[in-house]
């Protein structure tokens, strides 16, 4: 019997590996190396003492966790970490809710002015953030939103991109589902929440990932809208290691290393969805 088995499934002969594959693997390998090197150096530097940081060996001579202890116990780093988490989570939740609510309405209801609203939302995609910062700032100043969590969060609470993404996805939900639910006596809000939303979970995960990462790494607007250190987000806080006296590379790298942990977690947990979401949304990661 064993003889038959081997004849049925012979091992893959080396000649079957095509040259094109080798080229592809090489390119991908080099690309991967280029991308991972800075990250490895970040971790490496975070384990060095300040006197060793220009010693560019990847493996530190005498690795120490002192930087981590210092970053986490002295100064306001933990606070910034919580600030970033709070802001990113709130903004993500808000986008999940409002982008999909508006996207659903635009996709599934016929009303006067629908097309106009949609185009108006889309057209804001063409305005670069830099142009919006000044109006945002003036608006925050007038409303007294400067130097507050709400001030950091409000520009991102709903995005044109997210709305557009969700609209496209809700359009793929067959009307039959919605009408069946209507016949079953659900109200329109419940239909959206209980029927339509579960049917677009891949899109929701993609939106959640993009929004979370975007806000976790956001630097420019949080820097401008906050003045007190208690309200700094992580990226803003990290720069304060650079402005006081000298640039403390080992501290910055330690902070950055800690800051990447949530992104790594998000990525590992939702990896499946990120790949699918990127493909679905037609985006480059």
């Amino acid at each position: 019997m064993a003889a038959i088995d081997t004849t049925l499934s012979p091992p893959l002969p080396m000649s079957r590996i095509k040259p094109g594959r080798i080229v592809m693997w090489t390119v991908l390998f080099i690309g991967g190396l280029l991308m991972i090197t800075p990250i490895l150096f970040m971790f490496s530097t975070s384990l060095k003492t300040s006197s060793q940081i220009y010693d560019l060996r990847l493996i530190p001579q005498s690795p120490t966790l002192a930087n981590y202890i210092e970053v986490l116990t002295e100064g306001q780093f933990p606070r910034w970490f919580l600030n970033s988490s709070f802001v990113a989570i709130c903004v993500t939740a808000s986008n999940i809710f409002f982008d999909s609510l508006v996207g659903y309405t635009l996709a599934k209801f016929r009303f006067r002015g629908r097309q106009f609203v949609f185009i108006a939302i889309l057209s804001t995609l063409m305005i670069p953030t830099e142009m919006l910062v000044i109006p945002w700032y003036l608006m925050s100043a007038n409303f007294g939103w400067l130097d507050s969590y709400w001030g950091i969060m409000f520009p991102g609470m709903m995005t044109a991109f997210g709305t557009f993404l969700m609209k496209q996805f809700f359009e793929t939900v067959p009307d039959d589902f919605i009408e069946a639910a209507r016949m079953d006596g659900l109200n329109e809000f419940t239909i959206w929440w209980k029927i339509a939303m579960p049917l677009v979970t891949p899109a929701l995960s993609a939106l959640a990932i993009f929004t979370f990462l975007g806000n976790w790494t956001a630097f420019f607007w949080p820097l401008i809208s906050t003045t007190s250190k208690e309200l700094y987000t992580l990226p803003v806080g990290l720069t304060s290691f650079a402005v006081e006296q000298a640039i403390q590379w080992e501290m910055i790298m330690t902070g950055a290393a800690i800051a990447t942990i949530p992104t790594l977690v998000v990525f590992l947990v939702l990896q499946r969805y990120i790949v699918r979401g990127v493909m679905l949304a037609g985006l480059k990661g």
Partner: protein
């Protein structure tokens, strides 16, 4: 339980009318099947009854209540869709229970109803599966289950079987019919399949271009179609239609511009028949022969028209030969050539 009534029902999309004021009473407990070609307005009519589509004119009554402005959920109707519309993120049990979403029954009572409906439809072993693990027929049964648990005043079906293969369709036809017999609930059922209409309906409603042509029991529509369209739409293969003249009770093939059309069903037009006094005799050249087993269909051309006739099972009709087929008296339908309306039989 309720009777449905359509009075001068009109539907227009913008300026285009798609339903032109139809009238129909569906008595309590009747199984009515709407048939017609694609785009004739069957779904639109059903969706207006369901409340999913606004009424542009006329009235819909369910029981004694005018429901034009009543929300779908208040009408207490259940609908089964062509694409089943069972929710992929819920199990079969949850899907069926969804029919009871607004019901005020206790949890236990709901669970019991779901079990009962599942048992009735043979879904008991599948209750905890997801729709993706079900066959098409099983999915459609889940959709029917969800409709059933509510004890609705009526069921609406929109081409529920058209995504199923022929064998399953035949089986589901019998199951749905059986379900109707047991529940006795009014059913409005849309299909473009005349076999479904013939086999399931208490009454067939033939529609075309937003009008009702005929509403009658299946055999009545088959035996006495009101016009050429209905005659050809119901029954397979379609009724043969030829230009004709009638002189002294005898129908003959006519040349030129006739005033009459003669219709004869393939099953009544017999090749090699020895009838002494036929109602219609046609002679032509054989173009195709289709042995079906119990009988053989013989296609031939008469005056440029393609005619289908029936020959005995083991016949020896050859393509290219000339055949004569006869229909007995009383089986020839006459239609006015101009209006295409039925004028009785010869």
């Amino acid at each position: 339980m309720a009777k449905f009534e359509l009075r001068g029902l009109v539907k227009a999309y913008g300026k285009t009318k798609v339903i032109h004021g139809i009238n129909l009473v569906i008595p309590d407990g009747e199984f009515v099947v709407f048939v017609g070609p694609s785009g004739c307005g069957k779904s639109t009519t059903l969706r207006m009854i369901a409340g999913l589509e606004e009424v542009s004119g006329g009235e819909i009554r369910i029981g004694d209540r005018v429901v034009n402005e009543v929300d779908p959920k208040e009408r207490n109707l259940a609908m089964v869709f062509q694409n089943y519309a069972i929710y992929p993120h819920m199990t079969v049990r949850q899907n069926i229970a969804f029919g009871l979403y607004t019901s005020k029954l206790s949890k236990d009572e709901k669970a019991k109803k779901v079990e009962e409906a599942g048992a009735l439809l043979g879904l008991t072993p599948l209750l905890d599966r997801r729709p993706s693990d079900l066959s098409g027929g099983q999915r459609q049964r889940v959709a029917i289950g969800r409709a059933m648990v509510r004890d609705p005043a009526g069921f609406l079906f929109d081409e529920p079987l058209s995504n199923l293969d022929a064998q399953l369709r035949a089986q589901m036809r019998i199951e749905i019919k059986d379900l109707h017999r047991r529940l006795g609930t009014t059913i409005a059922y849309v299909t473009h399949d005349q076999v479904e209409a013939m086999t399931m309906a208490d009454r067939i409603v033939v529609m075309k271009d937003g009008h009702i042509l005929q509403a009658a029991p299946p055999m009545e529509v088959y035996d006495n179609p009101v016009d050429v369209f209905t005659a050809q739409f119901i029954g397979t293969p379609s009724m043969n239609i030829v230009p004709a003249t009638q002189t002294g009770g005898v129908v003959t093939l006519a040349e030129g511009a006739p005033t009459l059309l003669a219709g004869v069903r393939p099953h009544d037009l017999l090749v090699g028949s020895q009838i002494a006094d036929p109602g219609l005799t046609l002679t032509g050249t054989v173009t195709a022969v289709e042995p079906l087993g119990p009988e053989t269909l013989v296609h031939f051309t008469v005056a440029g028209r393609s005619i289908i006739s029936t020959a005995p099972a083991h016949g020896t009709v050859a393509i290219g030969s000339t055949v004569t087929a006869k229909a007995p008296r009383g089986q020839v339908h006459l239609f006015d050539a101009a209006t295409e309306k039925a004028m009785g039989r010869a």
